[in-house]
Amino acid sequence: MTMQIRVLGPGCSRCKTLAENTVEAVRASGVDATVEEVHDPMEIVALGILTTPALVIDGELVLAGHVPTVLQLQEVLAGRP
């Protein structure tokens, strides 16, 4: 099944880095996933998230408030069913 990854952040530099690292990690680990960036603060808040940048995979919040490296993100992806 295709993994649905959403990168949440209102467009600051850290959010951009997280999005780039995530795309890179998906590519490197070869998982079947879509990466979507969410910039609208209303939508972010509606999800119950205040700390950005944040990463949501298949509706579950996996990290918030910091930007991991591509390698760490690959571990996160690999650890998922």
Partner: protein, 350 residues
């Protein structure tokens, strides 16, 4: 990072503790030998005279750069690890449904303790207001967060001692509490973009994310590296300016034009500070030098607070949720508070 909380009951991490202890000792040794080391390089090896201007300026630059970098990375590491126990979501839960007054005090204190980057300002503001945290209380939080900067606090403490550090915290918290309370009393809800109140919130979802000590340490290390890299240009400019002033500008120059006796020193310092956008860490080397040159501590703290708390980029971000009138009121109330603190400190500390 994605491991479930139930799998988390790991035994105490001995190698991590040993690593931390080793890093701590190394840090302390470096901090201690910084002075003697540069004395030896600059005065012995390069043969510059310790009382000559050139030698003094160069020594100040290399010594201060090393000292500030050590302090900065150490303090950011400790602060990030401590803060990883707090989150905006937890803070909001603590503040939700509270009445104004005491809640402003709680919000200001939580503003200092909660990890928060300016890019989270808009979602945090909306999330707080939509969850029923009163507007004034939310503003207290938003003001305290940049104003009382824990990195600045740590550095003030090491550079100037606990009295100035304590005064800084007290003043910053007071401004945040009073400004939030005043703005709350002014019923500024009409100056908030209406869609903020229409936002629906679901319960915070981050409760599932729990960190191990190793991850907290890793966070601290990453954060220290990121911030040091980010502020390094400001820092070097600040220290270079400081070194030049230290070596070449006579003390009487600043005492005459900007000493505690000049009533315009504080407002001018605040006005100069608003358009300057820098991290508190980038300003502190300059503050240290100017203080040694006879500028009032109140003037310098006002300058630093204006640089840190009233930044143009954050105003532009907040414009998405606040109408210009509220932004103007925000800048006015916080600016007035900072000017007041400047005068107070100049009067108290001389």
């Amino acid at each position: 990072m994605s491991v479930k909380a139930s799998e988390r009951r790991a035994p105490p991490d001995v190698s991590l503790a040993a690593g931390l202890l080793g890093a701590g000792v190394l840090w302390w040794v470096l901090y201690r030998i910084n002075g003697p080391f540069w004395d030896w390089i600059v005065y012995r090896l390069a043969g510059l005279a310790p009382d000559g201007r050139l030698g003094e300026t160069i020594h100040f630059f290399v010594f201060d750069t090393t000292k500030i970098l050590l302090l900065l990375s150490g303090i950011i590491f400790v602060v990030t690890v401590l803060r990883s126990f707090m989150s905006l979501e937890r803070t909001r839960a603590l503040l939700g449904g509270k009445r104004e007054g005491l809640a402003n005090v709680a919000a200001a204190c939580l503003g200092v303790a909660t990890p928060f980057c300016s890019c989270s300002a808009v979602p945090a503001f909306m999330g707080f207001v939509a969850a029923g945290v009163p507007l004034g209380v939310t503003l207290s939080f938003l003001i305290a967060s940049p104003l009382v900067n824990e990195i600045a606090l740590g550095m003030l403490f090491t550079l100037f001692g606990w009295r100035i550090a304590l005064l800084y915290v007290t003043a910053g918290l007071t401004i945040a509490v009073v400004a939030g309370f005043v703005l709350g009393r002014m019923h500024v809800e009409r100056w908030v973009e209406p869609f903020v109140f229409e936002t629906k919130v679901s319960a915070a979802v981050s409760s599932g994310v729990k960190l191990t000590w190793r991850e907290r340490t890793e966070l601290g290390r990453e954060e220290a590296a990121t911030i040091v890299r980010k502020v390094l240009p400001y820092l070097l400019i600040g220290i270079a300016l400081g070194a030049v002033i230290h070596g070449w500008v006579p003390t009487s120059f600043f005492e005459t034009y900007a000493g505690p006796g000049n009533p315009f020193a504080v407002p001018v310092a605040v006005l100069v500070g608003i358009p300057l956008y820098s991290n508190a860490a980038g300003v502190l080397p300059l503050v240290e030098v100017l203080h040694a040159k006879g500028l009032g501590m109140g003037t310098l703290l006002a300058f630093m607070m204006a640089v840190v708390a009233l930044s143009l980029p954050e105003m532009i971000l907040l414009r998405r949720v606040l109408k210009p009138k509220l932004i103007a009121a925000f800048v006015g109330v916080v600016g007035a508070g900072i000017v007041f603190v400047g005068y107070l400190f100049n009067a108290v500390l001389g």
